[in-house]
């Protein structure tokens, strides 16, 4: 918690001029309750595991499909997803119909259908392996991502992925997916749809 005195004084200092000039935007910007603690940049960095499409949050590190293939076996991925990525009890990681010209018909395969390779990195990093989530190093996540992209013919086997190259991977789906509607309160779920 910051100095409570400053928190009390600052709003007052703003309120008077704002009321006099009739402006409202500056008032809306100030904290009202002064509750909550300001986290340090390190604290934010430690918890921020969201990797967006630009990849700006990616940590340093690198890896390729060959290293990923080894990790796929040694880190237990194969036990649930199958040695080929298609024969385990867990979701399949490679299309069973890889030659189908319709990408959507090849199945809901994360490393194939995701519009950004960052989603693959993000999910392995946050959610895998089952029961040992968060234990993979950045290098390992880069390697496993490269391996899954390789077995889906998205990148060549020898391509190294890192902070710079991963967000640039061109995923096969391109722009071929529907964008969500621009949601506004109190509007129908689909304009023109009566139901």
């Amino acid at each position: 918690m910051g100095s409570p005195r400053i928190r009390l004084i600052l709003p007052l200092a703003f309120v008077l001029p704002v009321l006099l000039t009739g402006g409202a935007s500056a008032l809306a910007q100030g904290p009202t309750f002064g509750i909550g603690r300001t986290p340090t940049p390190e604290e934010i960095k430690a918890i921020d595991i969201s990797i967006g499409p630009t990849g700006e949050e990616l940590p340093p590190g690198k890896g390729n499909a060959k290293e990923g293939a080894q990790l796929y076996r040694t880190r237990g991925c194969a036990a649930c997803h199958g040695a080929q990525g298609i024969e385990g009890p867990a979701p399949i990681l490679k299309s069973k119909d890889p030659k189908n010209p319709d990408l959507w018909a090849r199945g809901r395969i994360l490393p194939l259908r995701a519009p950004f390779a960052t989603t693959v990195w993000d999910y392995i990093n946050r959610g895998m392996p089952l029961n040992r989530e968060g234990t993979l190093t950045p290098d390992e996540v880069y390697s496993l991502t490269a391996y899954l992209l390789f077995i889906n013919d998205v990148i060549p086997e020898d391509q190294a992925l890192d902070q710079q190259s991963l967000p640039k991977v061109k995923m096969p789906i391109g722009d071929n997916y529907a964008k969500l509607p621009d949601w506004k309160p109190r509007t129908r779920r689909l304009p023109g749809y009566p139901h």
Binding site: Q29, F33, W104, P185, R186, R189, L190, H195
Partner: protein
Amino acid sequence: MGSKPLNRRELLKSGAAVAGGLTLGAAAPAIGGQQTPNTHHAPPSWPMIKGDRESNMVAYGDRSKYVTSVRIAHPVGGRPSPDQFGLTFHIATPLQDSVGVITPSSLHYVATTRGAFMPEIDPKEHRLMIHGLVDRPLTFTMEDLKRLPSVTRLHFIECAGNRSSRNARTVQETHGMVSCAEWTGVLLSTLLKECGLKGSAKWFVAEGAEEVKGASSMPIAKAMDDCIVAYGMNGEPVRPQNGFPLRLMVPGFEGIFHTKYLRRIKIVDRYYMNYNDFGHLDQDAKVAALDYQIGPKSVITFPSGGQRLPGKGFYEISGLAWSGGGAVKLVEVSTDGGKKWSRAEFKGTPQRMAFTRFGYHWNWDGSETEILSRCTDELGQAQPTRTQIAKYWNQPYDQTFRVPGLDNSVQPWRIASDGSVTNGFA
């Protein structure tokens, strides 16, 4: 409960039984020899429930042993919960036994994104961090949140998988992946104003603290409208299966957005394409839109599949209606297979994105028929039949037809002349 106080000897007996690990109360006769003989001229005299003083008699009450309504894994014959990895996936609430509009917390439906374990979170250690495109990132403890102005609202949550099928027999199987509770917490807009949104803030990512750290992207307009960072559920802390100690309520949006174990909200400038977001992708923009905000929907819970009417005569048909578009405006019931529709009566005042209980007085003449309900919400969105939906999509309506997007179609219940009720889709 009887008002007869326990005497010292009974207390000792009760304590001894607890120490001995006996099951109490089940069929034990009342102590003290006060029982009235049970004849048909006098009302029966019941044994007294002799629960464990330390738990269900004083500390935390139990329901009657005659009330046996329970949840089931969903769908029947589908992925079990827990599954082979011990993960809980989908659990449906027993709507056929529900009364009123509140789902008891212990019967609230449960769904997880990939199957999940329940984290045992110490609320004293739990934090909610809000960061990203804000002027002041902030971290809140549970105590902090409880100091802030709160709201208490009824809201339903419905899973995208709440889809009736031919194979479903009961309303629990056709519609059990929806529930309604009273939620208490701080409006997300209150917290975001405290942080100060930057002009570039367009979306937010909400993330849970469970092992998979489930995260979804949502529009900032929703955050500023009516999202609740909820710590209370039906008068007590949110239950672990529903996100203890903190759950994000996103009223009217599909269930997956109601992020459990909420630990972080990141304000961003674009759709972040989290794993959950990836799961939502669709080829068709219309389907994508219909997979987002829940449509107007209703279902008759009595009489419903698996039940049996004992004979002709009066019945109050009872059911539930809800919509992600706001409050329910109108519910109509048909008792002749959809030829004639009549306005049902609301039990209480419909609230936005909440269950509304309706009733309809009906004299069953004992002949075979089909009963249905449909609702219209405050936006004028009307619950369709599957035939109407198929027509909209220019598809033939047959047994293979699948409702695109979230399924809010009218549920028919068939009533045979012997009073048995079955799924009209079967």
